[in-house]
Symmetry: C2
Subunit: 522 residues, 2 copies
């Protein structure tokens, strides 16, 4: 039997702080997860969230090619018949092929939370699984708090699994619900159970000890045949087992082809797509898929990487669709600057005096609060400026913003921008916008588009502000990163000032300059 | 022999993307790490970074009470004498008690990077360790790429350890430099080596497979006596083993008292202090110490938590200085709102009609882009407003901002703010500020301070902006979070608008209202 990947981003993932998905978001994610090749997609909990019922209706229209969609719920309530249980009725109403229901393993939970007898809990498990199965569903049984329950009362924990197994569950999924179990325990407990139970086991881990991935891998090594988790590890508290780490470890380290090598190269894109749809912050240092995952900064490492990439990379980043990057910062040596120049196709070598000048300028600006590691477009422009290869597409001579009535909460900003255009004329423009950054962008664009039609297709996609010297209060400096994209690329620029508008303006001007420069190069 | 914790936040941590520490930052961190009780603090690499030499001079003046400060460097270069090596000379110049030097384990690296013979590499290790020891230093030997080297050529890898051991190293630290090793491998390799080598072993892991913590724990279980890592897992690429996870796992799960129970309760504060000094983004879902680490959102979990906290928490958060939180969002049930009300000491129960109204309002505002999970002060004000318990301390009638010349990069903002004061007068004030948010704050403060002296001691400590609907480009809505603190608390408020100034203004006004409300309650 083959190992399957069960994604619960749409259900357990949404329990994470800051996560909130619309119906449209959920459908987009389901489509993408299916294309990537996960085996199961847990769509939601119809008994707890009315929005989820809409999802099950709409997802059928997508005609997924690969994944089975599962509806989530719990075993029936105590002391009623399965046919009387609303929650099970809602699962049937979704008309999905598979259902995942969770039940209690830990005697403490049966008494304290369910407030029923150990015997009745076994009946609840058996009857609920049997009922859904009798209606033609593939039933996956999630044994909640399995490891805690097993440590407290192994015999009873096993009885709950046996109940689900006898009733015909296709997987018995062992959940480390509170995330407090260690890999060695996972391994020894699963090895013990496998001798007593024939139904395939699954694993569902949380990351409360930073061991969610390790516990999932340990479970597979001990014989588990299904791994449950979420993309980027989203989920309640510290999140669920991160599938964007689990999957490449399974494929590349253990040689278990849960997805094809070709699909694996889409992993980084998948992770970023999910981040975007979920509107969550990008985790730069995320293993395998993060922007920093293969980013080298230390001079020694960069030096060695030039000789052979294997020296400081445990895999070829291309295998997961990621790429090597070399960072430039005040800690960098010349190697970093030279490599970056090579990346940017600029003519620079160890002997060029500009190499040192660039390093010095980077150190000076980083002291002022700039950061170029994340703003490579600004660094590109900086290098060209120091090498005397700057191209002046336009010059800003003056810029003012007028009157913003704020109290009525319906605001328009009116900037006046005076620009020297490529034909050496001075043009003054007044534009409007929702907020000052938008207004400034509109003013700039209005003039420049007459000279450079290529700026038509660019869009701002991210705008981030961070206070630098927090102790200065509201007078503190801020660092603004602005990210634009066109049809092919995305690029980020940086601005720093005590004034947020001024910092945004710096980044905005550089973002447009960079686009024009890119246009030039073609 | 007791297990020791070796912190390398100041050295390996600074290799992380976006990390940049001043001398002052490094000294602050060293002081705090010492107070917390780590056994070793790696201060820097004097041979590679001149700033690090200043650190070793200044750190002596701090008179640390507990930790040994170590200087980092490499074995001597090939084919020279130890006395001719700059890097070793710089280590001696620091006059620290301990030195940590790394050498090559992997035959591939000796050939490809050092470009020398396997024999000469053994000499380099032996002589470098012996030399520093002869000068009275405690020498820790870092075996770079140990696991990769051992898998490629176990005999040679062992020879390198033997060389350092014979020369008198106090620890042989096995480094998973590229972060590609699995816990089961770490365990079996260390168990094998321990039979052949008597010198205590240490472990130094990277997180490239999301297994940095698991590998460190596996090494300790297999007998390692030193764990190296960084606070918050900062470090190159995906970071180093995260000590804020490793330490509580060792203490609370394995019963190894690497720090006292009392010190452990300072872990969360330590993590946030380091985040702040390093000016890195707060990782909310970080195990043990994150703001979300014990935050409950799902209705079922919140319900059970009310009955017994052990049901969904693997440890008591107080043990690591963290706290349980209940989140309110569109997914919440009444339990969440009621618990929150209890936390805020507001009189609300299941029957109160306001409970449903609050839930509906939260859903409506979250649809518009607000988020209350991270802005609890705004949520507090919202609840009071709906319950008719709002207190109007002041009312803003009008607010304008004038002219901001931007092109000369020296900007002052001039807002005019018209406020109805507590004595029902209308006061108009014009203030100045560096940037519009600062100017608005100054204007508001100027008037209000005459009525409410308690706003004297509040300071803005964080200001975050995020684009909500990115597809709208520069006209997109932004969400602003503003965090203030006074002597006792910190509190966060939220504002949403298409205009960044307007959104900031909303959050600013609520932050001050909240402070006034807090003052009232006392």
């Amino acid at each position: 039997m083959k190992l399957t990947i069960y994604d619960t981003t749409l259900r357990d993932g949404t329990q994470g702080e800051g996560m909130s998905l619309s119906l449209d978001d959920k459908l987009k994610l389901a489509k993408r997860l299916d294309e990537f090749g996960v085996h199961y997609i847990e769509g939601g909990w119809p008994g707890s969230n009315p929005k989820d019922m809409d999802f099950f209706r709409e997802v059928k229209k997508l005609k997924l090619g690969h994944a089975v969609v599962a509806a989530f719920g719990s075993t029936r309530r105590a002391n009623i018949k399965v046919t009387q249980d609303d929650n099970l009725a809602k699962i049937l109403e979704t008309k999905t092929k598979a259902a995942t229901i969770f039940g209690k393993t830990w005697d403490f939970h049966v008494r304290e939370v369910l407030k029923t007898t150990l015997e009745e809990n076994l009946n609840m498990i058996f009857e609920s699984v049997e009922y859904l199965k009798s209606k033609g569903l593939e039933v996956i049984y999630d044994a909640e708090h399995f490891f805690d329950g097993y440590k407290a009362n192994p015999k009873y924990a096993l009885d709950t699994l046996q109940a689900a197994s006898k009733a015909g569950a296709v997987y018995l999924v062992l959940c480390d619900t509170n995330g407090g179990t260690l890999p060695a325990e996972v391994c020894s407990i699963i090895s013990g159970i496998r001798k007593k139970i024939k139904t395939p086991l699954g694993i569902h881990c949380h990351n409360d000890c930073n061991l969610g991935v390790a516990n999932s891998v340990a479970a597979v090594e001990a014989g588990a045949l299904q791994v449950q988790g979420t993309i980027n590890g989203y989920g309640e508290r510290c999140g669920n087992a991160n599938l964007t780490s689990v999957i490449p470890v399974l494929v590349l380290k253990l040689g278990i082809p849960v997805v094809s090598a070709k699909k694996l190269t889409e992993l980084t894109e998948l992770s970023r797509y999910v981040t975007e749809v979920c509107n969550m912050p990008l985790e730069r240092n995320q293993p395998f898929v993060g922007k920093s995952a293969f980013a080298h900064k230390g001079g020694v490492h960069v030096n060695a990487m030039v000789k052979n990439a294997r020296t400081y990379e445990h895999i070829d980043p291309k295998l997961v669709g990621n790429a090597t990057r070399f960072l430039v910062s005040e800690l960098s040596g010349k190697s970093n600057v030279l490599l970056k120049a090579k990346e940017l196709k600029l003519d620079l070598n160890n002997e060029t005096p500009e190499t040192r000048k660039i390093l010095e300028k980077v150190r000076e600006l980083e002291n002022q609060g700039y950061q170029f590691e994340a703003a490579e477009a600004s660094f590109d422009l900086l290098m060209r400026r120091i090498m005397g290869k700057e191209k002046k597409f336009f010059a800003v001579q003056e810029c003012r913003i007028h009157d913003e009535p704020l109290a009525d909460r319906d605001v328009t900003s009116h900037p006046t921008v005076k620009i020297q255009t490529p034909d050496k004329k001075t043009r003054t423009t007044e534009a409007q916008g929702k907020g000052p950054v938008d207004a400034l962008y509109n003013a700039l664009r209005e003039v420049l588009i007459q000279y450079y039609s290529i700026i038509q297709d660019i869009h701002l996609i991210d705008y981030k502000v961070r206070v630098i010297n927090e102790s200065a209060g509201t007078a503190a400096k801020v660092r603004v990163f602005i990210t634009f994209r066109d049809e092919k690329d995305t690029w980020t620029t940086v601005g720093v000032s005590e004034n947020i508008i001024e910092a945004s303006w710096q980044a905005l001007v550089e973002a447009i300059e960079y686009k024009l420069l890119k246009g030039e190069k073609i």
